[in-house]
Amino acid sequence: MVTEELVDLSRLQFAATAMYHFLFVPLTLGMVWLLVIMESAYVMTGKVVYKDMTRFWGKLFGINFALGVTTGITLEFQFGTNWAYYSHYVGDIFGAPLAIEGLMAFFLESTFIGLFFFGWDRLSRKQHLMVTILMAVGTNLSALWILVANGWMQHPVGAEFSYETMRMELVDFWAVLFNPDAQAKFVHTVSAGYVTGAMFVLSISAWYLLKGRDLEFARRSFSIAAAFGFASVCSVIVLGDESGYVVSEAQQTKLAAMEAMWETEPAPASFNVIAIPNEAQMKNDYALHIPWVMGIIGTRSFDQEMPGIRDIVVRNRERVEVGVEAVRLLEALRADPGNADLRERFERVKDDLGFGLLLKKYVSSMDEVTPELMDRAARDTIPKVAPLFWSFRIMVALGFAMLVLFGLALWHSVKGDFAERRGLLRWALWFLPMPWIASELGWFVAEYGRQPWTIYGVLPTHLSVSTLSVESLYGSLAGFVGFYTLLLVVEMYLMVRFARQGPGSLGTGRYLNEVGHGNGGHAGAKA
C-alpha cells in the first residue's frame, strides 16, 4: 500500500543521497580542468612546480573523487530500488541516457583516472597530459548525459504514452538530447562545478599565502584558480539556467513559485527582491519590486508575458478535469484494447493523463472524484513558494559575491600583489564552503520546484514509488545516513590533513612538511 509516509520517506532518502552525492560532484567537475591547465603548463614550460601542482591538487581531487564514485552508484540503484513504478513508466526514455553515460563517459573517466594517478613514470609527458584531458572530457560528458536525463524530468519532450504497454515511450531521441532545458542545465551545472574547483584551489592557496609557506606553489595555484574561477562564475551567472525556464510549462510554474509571482503582470514583469509569500491567500504580504527586471531575465524580451501562479492554477484546473476523463478512458481501453472508438477518444485527451493521475493521491477510482478534489489537485501543482523563493535568492546572492571575489582575485593576480592583500586572502579562505551551499540550493530549487511531479505533467511523485514497507525505508534511510556520515568524517579528516600538510605530502623534498606522513613518520623518500 502506498501511503503518504512511504512517499515522503522515499523522497527524503532520494533527496538526502542526491544532495550528499552533489557534495563531491562539483569539485570533481571543476578540478579536472584545473588539473588539465596545470599539467599543460608543465608540458609547455617544463617547470617542475607545475607537475607538483598537478600531483598535489590531484591527490586532493582523488580523495574527493572516491566519495563521488561511492555515492554515485547509489543514485543509479535507487531508481530501481525505491522508484520502481517510475522506472517502469519512463525507463524507455530515462534509462537510455544513463546507459549511454556509462558507455560514453564513465568508462572513459574511470579508466583514465587510474592512469592519471599511476601512469606518471610509465607515460611520456604528452601521453600523460592526454590521459588527464580524456579524464576531464569523460567527467564532463558524464554530467551531460545525467543532465539530459534530469532535463527530461523537467521538460519531457520526444516521448508519448502508450496504452498497450502502460508507459511512456521514446519517439524522438534527438528531441530528448537537444532538450533546451537539458542544455541550459548542463552549462549552468558544469560551470558551477568549475567555480567550486576554482574556489577550492583559491581558498587553500590563500591559506598557504596567509601562513607564508610554500609560496611559489601557492602563488601559481592562486593565479590559475582566480582566472579560471572568474571565467566560470561569469558563465554561471550569464548562462544561469533560468534561460531555459521560459520554454516549458514545468519551468514556468517553478519560475512563478521561486519568484513569488502570484499574478500575471503585463510584460515585462517586475522582480521581487524581497517578499513575504502568503501561501494560504496566494499573495505576498510584503514585497519590494523592481519594475521590468523579472520579465527581462525570464523571457529575454520586453513583450512576452509570464504567467503568475493564480493563472497557472486556473489553467491546470482545466487540465485536471480533462485528465480525469483520460484516466477513465485509459481504464476502459485497458479492459477492451481493440475498441477503436475508445482509442480515438483517449488519444484526444491523453496529453492531460498525468493531471488526472494527480487525483490517485486522494481516490482509488475516478468515480469518487469531486469538484473540490479537482480544485485541490490543481492547487497541488504549485510547489510551496517560500522555500523556493528564499533558496533561489541566497543562491543568487552567493553567486554575485563570488563574482566580486574572483574579480578582485583576478585583478590582483594581474597586478601581482595578491599575496600581500591579506583581506582578500582571508575572504577567499572563508568563502570556501559557498559554492557548495549555492549548488545544493540550486538543486533544491530545481527538484523541489518540480513537485508534485517526478516527470512534469506526466507522472506524479505519489505514484512513482516502489511498494516497499515503511519499515524498510526507515531501515535503509538510517543505513545511508549512518554510512554516509562516517564516510564524510573520514573524507574530511583526510582532506584537512593533506591540505594542511600541503605539497610536502608528495615527498619530493621541495616543500615544507616533508616529514610527518602519518604516525610512522616517513621522511620524503627521495628527499
Binding site: G102, M104, F107, W120, E164, R167, V490
Partner: protein, 379 residues
Amino acid sequence: MIIDYPTLKIIWWLLVGVLLVGFAIMDGHDMGVGSLLPFVGKGDVERRIVINTVGPHWDGNQVWFITGGGAIFAAWPIVYATAFSGFYWAMLAVLWALFFRPVGFDYRSKIHNATWRSTWDWGLFVGGFVPPVIFGVAFGNLLQGVPFHFDDTLVPYYTGSFWGLLNPFALLCGVVSSAMIIFHGAIYLMHRTEGEVYQRSRMAMMLAGMVLLVTFTAAGLWVQYIPGYAYASVVDFAALPNPLGKEVVREAGAWMANYRSMPLTLLVPALAYLGAIAALLLAMRGRTLTAFVASSLAIVGIIGTAGVSMFPFVMPSSTVPNASLTVWDAVSSHLTLTIMFWATMIFMPIIVVYTSWAYKVMSGKVTAAYIRENEHAAY
C-alpha cells in the same frame, strides 16, 4: 539499418549477457583479488602489492557494473524496476559492500597506521567478497522464480522476504559465483605477483577451482529437479511488450528443455567445464596469462549456462507465473532498443581498446621494490 523487433529482443538478451559477463570478467577479477587480500598478503608490503595489482584498474572495471545496470534500465525497464525493488535489502547489501571499495583503495595507504590500514583491508575484502555471493544468490532465486506480481496498471508487488532469498539452492549458487570470482582473481594475482604472494595465490586458485567444479556440477544436477517455467501460450515475438498477456506453467525439469530441443546449446556448459579445467591446469604450470583467458571463458560458460537454461525467461514469478518477465515481453520500445544497440556497437569496441591500453601501460609484476619507490603515490 533497421533491425526487426523480435531480432532486437534476442540481441538485447545477448547484450545484457555480454555486459554481465564483462562485469564478471573485469570487475570480477578485482573483486576476487579483494576477497583474497587478507589471506594472501601478510604484512603491509604484501598487502600493498596485492592492492596495487588492481589499483589503476578497479575503477574502470566497476563501470561494467554501472553500465550493466543502466543497460537493464534502458532495455528491460520493468525487470530493473521489479528486481531492484523486490530484492531491496539484497541490493542495498551489494551497494553498501561496494561503498568500501573506492574509499578503501584510495584512503588505505594515505595514513601510516596499522589499525587504519587493516580496517580498510577488511573493507576491501567485504567489497570484493559480498557482491559476487549476492549476485550468485540472486541468480539462484531467479532460477527458482521470485514471488512477485503486478496490478493491472503494472505496479510491481514483491511478496517475499529477504530471508526467503537465502534458500539452499540459492546459497549453492552463491558459492558457485564466489568460487568463480575467487578462482579468476587468484589467477590474475598469480600473473601480477611473485614469491610468497604468488605461492599463496596459487594455493587459493587450486582450492577455488576445485570448489567451483564441484559446486557447478552439483547445481547443474539439482536444477533438473527444481521447477522451471515454460510458455503455455503461443508467443507473438513481435508483439508490444505486455507481461500480463501470456500463460506460463511451472514444472520440474523445464530448465532442461532448451538443451533437449537445441543440443548445440550444450556447448555452453561444456565451455564452463573446459574453461575451468584448462585454467586450472595452465595456472598450475605457471601459464598465467593463458589461464586468465581460460577462466574468462569459464565465466562465459557459467553465466551463459544460467541464461540458456532460463531462456526466454528473465525473471519468472513463482506466485503468479503468468506475470513472469521474459525476453519477449519485458523489453523497451523498438526505437529505444535500436538506439541502445547502436550506442553499444559504437562504444564497446572503443572501451575495449582503451582498457587494453591501460592494462598494457601498467603491465608487469608488482613488486616490493615498486611499493618502496612509490611510497607516496601507490595505493
